[in-house]
């Protein structure tokens, strides 16, 4: 048991247990908790403000400067509302479900490197109170898989909330949600696998350390395709527009959380927005080097922040994706359900799988030192295989379409 600890965090690798390790861990837990809550508050405001701007409205502007405290006001209002439990609800499951959605959303923050100096081959450790540690709560050897595990737990929150409400629209919403989340988890996992294979490690700090310059950023070194697939699959995983069929207001009232009110509803709401931030942070960690600086003409423009430079870079990059999500929501109309499933199963998963195999072949070539001609042979052969697979796949789709049409299907 004790042997496992140094891998998770170097600060715990000490024989001299005094207040310093406890203070470091306590501080990190506190910071993550505060980031989670304040970040969510900010995200709700940010989304409302940006969408308002894009739709030529003003948005929240009454509570606090620029309406910044609007979320706090809404939250307080929600707390004081009556907490209703429907008669036909399964009371125990109905009570547990919001927490199953909320807790995983928080825990993702534990494995994301929030700062530290990774430049020039350094491993991102910092020294606080005379103890060496990382600027992340835990760095388990299976880092990224932990995030996947947590996102698969989050499915339960949505699913059980819908089922336990004992009413039909939430049930429809949750069945849609679980089908969607399971389908896109496959594409998400495959594009993630491409990154993990390139990085050669599962630990999040190892992945960040591997992206020491912009050409090493996995965005470029995996060839952009996994990044695009990850971005799309993540949007679907988060049930964000244009993939928000889970709560399609016009069809399902509010989806899985129709019957929830008061604080339980607030928990779902909080979890949704927190997931947006934490998954953006994960995306940045995996593809854009997390706290790694971007050198503009050989200069780290945020270097004047000193030890906070890494954190500032991370925030700046996360910010871009938060904006992109809001932009998606303001721009793209919601997909139809069959379009959603077609995109997931017939487009994203095959491309992700094919790209993953191609990267694997290249990696094998690199490991075995096949040389120039060997490389060309490898690439040509694998491209030929992929083209063959593509043609077979198209043929299969054509047959399936003909069968459907002969049965009189509408699409």
């Amino acid at each position: 048991m004790i042997a496992a600890v140094p891998m998770v965090d170097p600060v715990l690798d000490t024989d001299d247990w005094w207040w310093q390790p406890l203070a470091v861990v306590g501080l990190k837990v506190l910071v993550i908790f505060i980031i989670g809550l304040v970040g969510t508050m900010f995200m709700v405001w940010f989304e409302r403000k940006i969408v308002a701007g894009m739709q030529n409205r003003v948005g929240p502007n009454k509570a606090g400067p620029f309406g910044l405290l609007q979320t706090l006001a809404d939250g307080t209002k929600l707390f004081f509302k009556e907490d209703l439990i429907p008669d036909r609800a399964d009371r125990m499951v109905f009570r547990i479900a919001p927490f199953l959605a909320f807790v995983p959303a928080f825990l993702v923050w534990a494995v994301i490197p929030l700062g530290g100096d990774f430049t020039g081959g350094r491993d991102g450790t910092v020294t606080w109170f005379g103890e060496t540690t990382r600027v992340q709560l835990a760095d388990p050897p299976v880092g990224v898989l932990l995030v996947l595990a947590l996102s698969s737990i989050a499915v339960y929150g949505v699913m059980l909330a819908g089922w336990s409400s004992g009413s039909k629209y939430p049930l429809l919403g949750s069945v849609r949600a679980s089908a969607q989340m399971i389908s896109y988890e496959a594409a998400l996992g495959l594009s993630l696998a491409a990154v993990l294979m390139t990085a050669g490690t599962l630990s999040t700090s190892g992945i960040v350390a591997n992206q020491s310059s912009i050409t090493n950023w996995h965005l470029l070194s995996t060839g952009v395709v996994p990044f695009v697939i990850f971005l799309i699959a993540m949007t679907a995983e988060l049930n964000r527009p244009p993939f928000d069929l889970v709560e399609a207001e016009q069809e399902l009232v509010g989806g899985f959380h129709t019957e929830y009110s008061s604080i339980r509803f607030a928990l779902f709401f909080l979890a949704e927005f927190m997931n947006v931030i934490s998954m953006s942070a994960l995306l940045v960690t995996l593809f854009l080097g997390g706290p790694q600086p971007l050198y503009l003409g050989g200069v780290d423009v945020l270097a004047f922040l000193g030890p906070f430079g890494g954190t500032a870079w991370l925030l700046a990059k996360v910010f871009i994706f938060l904006y992109v999500y809001v932009w998606f929501r303001a721009t793209l109309p919601r997909l139809r359900y069959d379009q959603l499933m077609n995109l997931g199963w017939k487009v994203l998963i095959p491309i992700a799988l094919g790209w993953f195999l191609l990267l694997a072949v290249l990696q094998v070539g690199r490991d075995r030192n096949v040389g120039q001609t060997g490389y060309v042979v490898l690439v040509v052969a694998s491209l030929a295989v992929l083209v063959l697979c593509y043609l077979l796949f198209q043929a299969a789709l054509a047959v399936a379409r003909r069968n459907r049409e002969s049965e009189g299907a509408a699409y």
């Binding site: 496992a4 499951v93 388990p140 050897p141 898989l145 595990a149 698969s152 737990i153 699913m159 069945v175």
Partner: protein, 174 residues
Amino acid sequence: MELLVFVLASVMVLAGAVGVIAYRNPVHAALGLVLTLFGVAVHFVSMEAHFLAAVQVIVYAGAIVVLFLFVIMLLGVDRAEDLDVEPFKIQRPLAVIVGASVTGLVIAAVVRGRSTLGEMSDAAAPGDDNIRALARNLYSDHVLAFELTSVLLIVAVVGTVVLTRRSRRPEVSQ
């Protein structure tokens, strides 16, 4: 510390297992199964098998039980079943025999392999070595079994599709 973790995880596993059998509502039973799987994952972590723990949660809790729940919800069988009806007469005696023999097998394996189990618990592999060792084992020593498993899964998928699409008459599509 190790003992405490072991006891807590074992309580989780056993409580979940009892829940699976005792709950009358299939959804509650499935949740009991999730608890059991989590307990097993905790056991894996305490034995340094971090990768197995993560995969345990992702595959079993994240995919398989979700699929169970999905089917339960979709078919609307989320009410207590009448236990007096027995579709296949031989099922219950057979279940008793199989249960008893599996229990006997596990106990026999533990008793016989006690010495080897003691040695294994010291073999802590740091960091990614755990995954490397597993991969090497799976893709070199047991590659035939691995490939056969994937063939089995493909056959299962094809079989399911064929069974669901057997009828070709136009009125089925509605």
